[in-house]
């Protein structure tokens, strides 16, 4: 591993002036090496993401458009999702977490990289094959007020997926299916003819979840599913999602900015910063033994509902704002806000890999972290 890493670092060093796309390629090879080495204790992954890239072109001119740059929303990320597990993705606004969701749903076309669903690369699919795969990957959206069509009844909203995939439920059977789904998500099946405005935010989110479940998918991608809800209702929806996961053996990709909720629901957590994965591991590894400085800063900034902890806890207050993804810093993207940054950080892109100093030991700190100076630091528990 160490040798491999060196070779790749050399490759990056040797080509300092390459264009954006080429740099991505260089980074890609290194990260795929790291990703393949991921632990396989959970059996076969249901979804494998490899070096996924999404660049949105920035153009200039009206008639003769010329590309002048690109917003590097997602810039080479890799991870696996296993059957029945929840992978949480956290990060601040603009880190690319919602773009990842869209790419996995194939709502956006990836610039580069692969997404394997049961061994099949879905970024290359189209037509009937794509439609078949999409049945198994569904989504729950953030805003329950805009993600439901106000002019459709609840029955039509939840039943709409059956129009596209009629093989799941024959026509005469649909009403009963929809009522079953309403019951499953804890709504009265008699509400089938009501309109979205007759429901509260939490109830609407349940409708959104019922629609996500309609096609009996294996994977549900949840993009901030509870952030628009009040605290007391949030808990209800989270509990519902956990219950459904057990019942239907669902895999969740749970995207959120609220770190406490992500810890609660996730088996593994990935931390994103400016289009890259900064650190990924189990919830204990990430929350109790973080090794990437960004994760540490993020965790220490979360206000904890315990007034006694406010003196005892160390706070890392970052300076400045997240840089623009159109023009990310060279080397490590976090270096402009990092207190550990050195010359090396500006020159070399840190790989997402288990830091060398931890590889031989069995500590929870031995998980993948993209930092040259990774070191363990507990910022969550008061000293």
């Amino acid at each position: 591993m160490a040798e491999l890493k060196k070779n790749d670092e050399a490759a990056v060093d040797a080509t300092p002036n390459v264009t954006a796309v080429e740099t991505v390629d260089a980074v890609s090879t290194e990260e795929s090496v790291a990703a393949i080495e991921a632990p396989v204790e959970r059996g076969e992954p249901i979804l494998q993401v490899r070096n996924l890239v999404k660049h949105f072109p920035l153009t200039q001119g009206i008639l003769f458009k010329k590309q002048v740059g690109a917003v590097k929303a997602v810039d080479g990320i890799s991870f696996d999702l296993y059957q029945g597990e929840t992978l949480g993705i956290v990060g601040e606004s603009g880190c690319g977490k919602s773009t990842v969701a869209k790419l996995l749903m194939t709502l956006e076309k990836a610039t580069a990289g692969e997404v394997f669903y049961k061994g099949q690369d879905i970024t290359k699919l189209s037509g009937r094959a794509l439609k078949a795969v999409r049945r198994n990957i569904q989504m729950v959206f953030q805003d329950p007020y805009t993600s439901l069509n106000p002019r459709m009844t609840v029955g039509d909203i939840i039943g709409e997926p059956y129009d596209i995939h009629p093989e799941v439920a024959p026509k005469g059977d649909r009403r009963r299916k929809v009522q079953e789904l309403l019951d499953v998500v804890g709504l009265n099946p008699e509400y089938i003819n009501r309109y979205p405005h007759q429901f509260s935010g939490g109830q609407r989110q349940r409708i959104g979840i019922a629609r996500g479940l309609a096609l009996q998918p294996e994977i549900i991608i949840c993009d901030e599913p509870v952030s628009a809800l009040d605290v007391s209702v949030q808990a209800q929806v989270i509990n519902l999602m956990e219950k459904l996961q057990d019942e239907f053996n669902l895999s969740y990709l749970f995207i959120a900015h609220d770190l406490s909720i992500v810890r609660h629901i996730s088996d593994r957590v990935g931390v994103m910063y400016l289009g890259k994965m900064a650190e990924i591991g189990t919830d204990v590894q990430i929350y109790d033994h973080p090794t990437h400085p960004y994760t540490q800063a993020l965790l220490s900034a979360v206000p904890v509902p315990d007034p006694d902890a406010r003196e005892g806890r160390e706070r890392i207050i970052l300076t400045g704002d997240v840089p623009s993804p159109a023009n990310p810093p060279s080397g490590c993207r976090f270096r402009t806000r990092c207190w550990k940054a050195q010359d090396k950080c500006a020159e070399e892109v840190p790989l997402l890999a288990v830091p060398e100093r931890f590889t031989s030991s069995d500590t929870p700190a031995a998980h993948e972290s993209a930092c040259h100076f990774a070191e363990e630091k507990d910022v969550v528990h008061a000293a």
Binding site: G202, V231, A235, N239, L259, L298, P303, D306, P307, V380
Partner: protein, 327 residues
């Protein structure tokens, strides 16, 4: 203990809507002392923002109507003042910070102009002096390169920087009281921490009273001295911050605390308060929380609980507060 800077007594606010009268605030009593941070905690529709707007005198009337109560600030009942007198209080003696800085700032005027306006309008300063003051304020809220950025427009700043400008604007005339309505809700956690730190530091420095309106139990625990929990337009519990987290005396507060996941450990299934927050046009009889309360008994359905004194400086509007406190 200094006397209260602001005292709200039995405030009632309602909104006349097409489908009835929404009773947004139903008898709120609270007080803020000089240099104190009071957090008003509540979910959407609990009446926390409407209370703040009524205190500031910026409630939309109609449809809103203040149907009773007093807002006593430094011995004067603000609700009895004429509008032009009220305007003198606003900004000079009490100021407000809003949640959404982008829609609170005027997009076609530079931030320097908007900050300077405080001085040209209230202090009659010249434009040039006002601009110098604006730079000073931007320095104070730690906006880097304030001199170069004073002529920039709101859209040229990031979310955190815009919220700093809002804070600068509130501080401009050195008011005695600042009301901050969800000041960090729209911001990312790392930026939220920066802004809260700044606010707490400026408050210490200037000795202002601060009313922090929020739904976030974490933010409250970090900065507040005292908490008032609101539900259906009433204060259901009020206590010093340490007491309320250790031993809540109202089932709603307890439910809220139990329903948030923890960062420092992985919990079991979350406790969920059953049901939904009440519709303000049809607030339940008796205790408004009774349809969702695990301790509900007959008396809760008929009698509105007063704010019982739990101990000095602590109150709970629950008939069975003793049970909640010790249970």
């Amino acid at each position: 203990m200094p006397g209260p800077l602001l005292e709200v007594r039995d405030l009632h606010v309602e909104f006349r809507l097409r489908d009835g009268v929404a009773k947004a605030v139903n008898g709120v009593d609270c007080a803020v002392a000089e240099g104190e941070t009071l957090a008003v905690l509540g979910e959407s529709g609990s009446g926390k923002s409407v209370t703040a707007q009524a205190v500031m005198g910026i409630l939309d009337m109609p449809p809103g109507r203040i149907t009773g109560g007093e807002v006593v600030f430094r011995g004067r009942d603000l609700l009895k003042l004429r509008e032009d007198e009220r305007r003198g209080v606003r900004g000079r003696e009490m100021a407000m910070i809003f949640q959404d800085a982008l829609s609170s700032l005027n997009p076609v005027l530079s931030v320097g102009y908007q900050l300077g306006e405080m001085f040209t309008v209230h202090r009659g300063m010249s434009r040039k002096d006002a601009k110098a003051k604006a730079v000073e304020l931007m320095d104070r809220v730690r906006i880097p390169a304030a001199k170069e950025r004073v002529d920039d427009y709101p859209h040229q700043f990031s979310g955190g920087m815009r919220q700093r400008i809002m804070i600068a604007m509130a501080l401009a005339l050195e008011p005695d009281l600042i009301i901050a309505d969800e000041p960090t809700t729209a911001l990312d956690v790392t930026v939220q921490a920066q802004v809260m730190d700044l606010l707490a530091e400026l408050q210490r420095e200037l000795g202002m009273g601060l009313v922090l309106i929020t739904h976030d139990l974490g933010v409250v625990a970090d900065v507040a001295d005292r908490i008032a929990v609101m539900y259906a337009g009433r204060i259901v519990e009020t206590a010093p911050v340490h007491d309320i987290y250790k031993a809540p005396a109202h089932p709603y507060t307890r439910g809220l605390l139990d329903s948030i996941p923890r960062l420092d450990r992985k919990g079991r299934e979350l406790y969920a308060i059953r049901g939904l927050p009440p519709n303000l046009t049809r607030i339940p009889s008796g205790c408004p929380f009774h349809p969702r309360c695990p301790l509900v008994r007959d008396v809760c359905r008929t009698d509105v609980p007063p704010l019982y004194e739990v101990e000095d400086g602590r109150g709970s509007a629950c008939h069975f507060w003793q049970e909640t406190l010790h249970g």
